[in-house]
C-alpha cells in the first residue's frame, strides 16, 4: 500500500473542486434514494407528501400541503394527481370551506408510506456505511456550517 498517497492533504482542497464534488455527490445520493424508492412506485417527492399526511393524521388542504412542502401549488396538484391515480391519496371537499379541497391518505397510502420509509431507511444505512471511516462529528459540523 502506498502510504504517502493515503496521507491527508495538508492544504485545503481547491474551492471549486470541493463545492462541485459536493453537488455531484448530493446528486448521486439523491439518485440512490430515488432508486431505492422506485420499486415501491414512489419518489422522494411523493413520499415527502405521504409523510406530511401521515404525520398530520387527518386530511389537509392542498394549500397547506404546498406550504409545508415549500413548493408551488401547481406542483402539489400534480403530485396529488399521481398519488390519487395510484390509489394512495383521496381528495375530498372541505366541509368547512367549500372552495378548498383536502387530501387524505387511503389505507393503501398508509401501507405505501410505511414501505417507502423502510426502503429509505435501508438506503440511508447503506450510504452511511460507506462513510464509516469519516469522522462523523466533524462531517456533521461541516454540513451544518454549509447549511447556514
Amino acid at each position: 500500500m502506498n502510504h504517502r498517497a493515503r496521507k491527508r492533504p495538508r492544504r485545503s482542497p481547491a474551492p471549486d473542486k470541493l463545492v462541485f464534488s459536493l453537488l455531484r455527490a448530493a446528486g448521486e445520493v439523491e439518485s440512490r434514494l430515488e432508486a431505492a424508492l422506485s420499486p415501491s412506485g414512489l419518489s422522494l417527492a411523493k413520499l415527502g407528501l405521504l409523510r406530511v399526511l401521515a404525520e398530520a393524521n387527518e386530511p389537509l388542504p392542498l394549500s397547506e400541503l404546498a406550504q409545508q412542502q415549500r413548493c408551488v401549488r401547481s406542483n402539489i396538484t400534480q403530485i396529488v394527481d399521481r398519488l390519487e391515480k395510484d390509489g394512495l391519496v383521496r381528495r375530498r371537499a372541505d366541509a368547512d370551506d367549500r372552495r378548498s379541497v383536502r387530501a387524505g391518505l387511503t389505507p393503501a397510502g398508509e401501507r405505501a408510506y410505511a414501505r417507502g420509509m423502510r426502503a429509505l431507511a435501508q438506503a440511508q444505512r447503506a450510504i452511511k456505511s460507506s462513510l464509516k471511516s469519516t469522522d462523523a462529528s466533524s462531517l456533521q459540523a461541516a454540513l451544518e456550517t454549509l447549511a447556514r
Partner: protein, 153 residues
C-alpha cells in the same frame, strides 16, 4: 466538464424531503444551501447555474455546437435545452445558426456578449465557492472531502 454534470443532476424541485433528521438528509440540505448560494451569487449577472452550464460548454468547445449535443452533455431533455437556449438568445448571449453539414440540425454559439457574461459569471462563482469553503474549519473541510471521496467511489 464535470461540474456541469453536477449542476444538471441535482433535482431542483425544492420539495421538502421525507426525512430531515439523518446524516444523509443533512448532506442533501447542505448541498441545497450551497446550490442556493451559488445561484444567488450568479443572479446579479443575470445567469443561473443552468444557463452558465450552457455557456460553459460553448466556451469550452470554442465552436458552435448542435442543440442535440448540448442536451446530451447537460443530461437533459431536448425541450429543456431549447428553452434555455431561447432565453440565452433573448439575452443576446447565444446565437442560433443553421448547420451547413446537416440541414436538419441547428447550432448554438456564443456571442461576444455571451463570452463576456461567461467570464464574469465564472468570476462570481469562484468568489462564492471560496467564501463557502472559507467558512469551514480545516478539520471540517478534511472530513467533508473524505466523505465526498467515499461517496463517489
Amino acid at each position: 466538464m464535470s461540474h456541469n454534470r453536477a449542476i444538471r443532476t441535482r433535482s431542483r424541485n425544492g420539495a421538502r424531503r421525507p426525512a430531515a433528521d439523518s446524516l444523509v438528509f443533512s448532506f442533501l440540505s447542505a448541498a441545497d444551501a450551497v446550490e442556493a448560494r451559488l445561484e444567488a451569487a450568479l443572479s446579479p449577472t443575470g445567469l443561473s447555474l443552468a444557463k452558465l452550464a450552457v455557456l460553459h460548454f460553448l466556451a469550452d468547445a470554442k465552436q458552435a455546437l448542435p442543440l442535440s449535443e448540448l442536451a446530451a452533455r447537460q443530461h437533459c431533455v431536448r425541450s429543456n435545452i431549447t428553452q434555455l437556449v431561447d432565453r440565452l438568445e433573448q439575452d443576446g448571449l447565444v446565437r442560433r445558426r443553421a448547420d451547413l453539414d446537416d440541414r436538419r440540425s441547428v447550432l448554438a454559439e456564443l456571442t461576444p456578449a455571451g463570452r463576456q457574461a461567461h467570464a464574469k459569471a465564472v468570476g462570481a462563482l469562484a468568489g462564492a465557492q471560496r467564501a463557502i469553503v472559507r467558512a469551514l474549519e480545516a478539520g471540517e473541510a478534511t472530513s467533508l472531502q473524505n466523505a465526498l471521496g467515499a461517496l463517489s467511489s
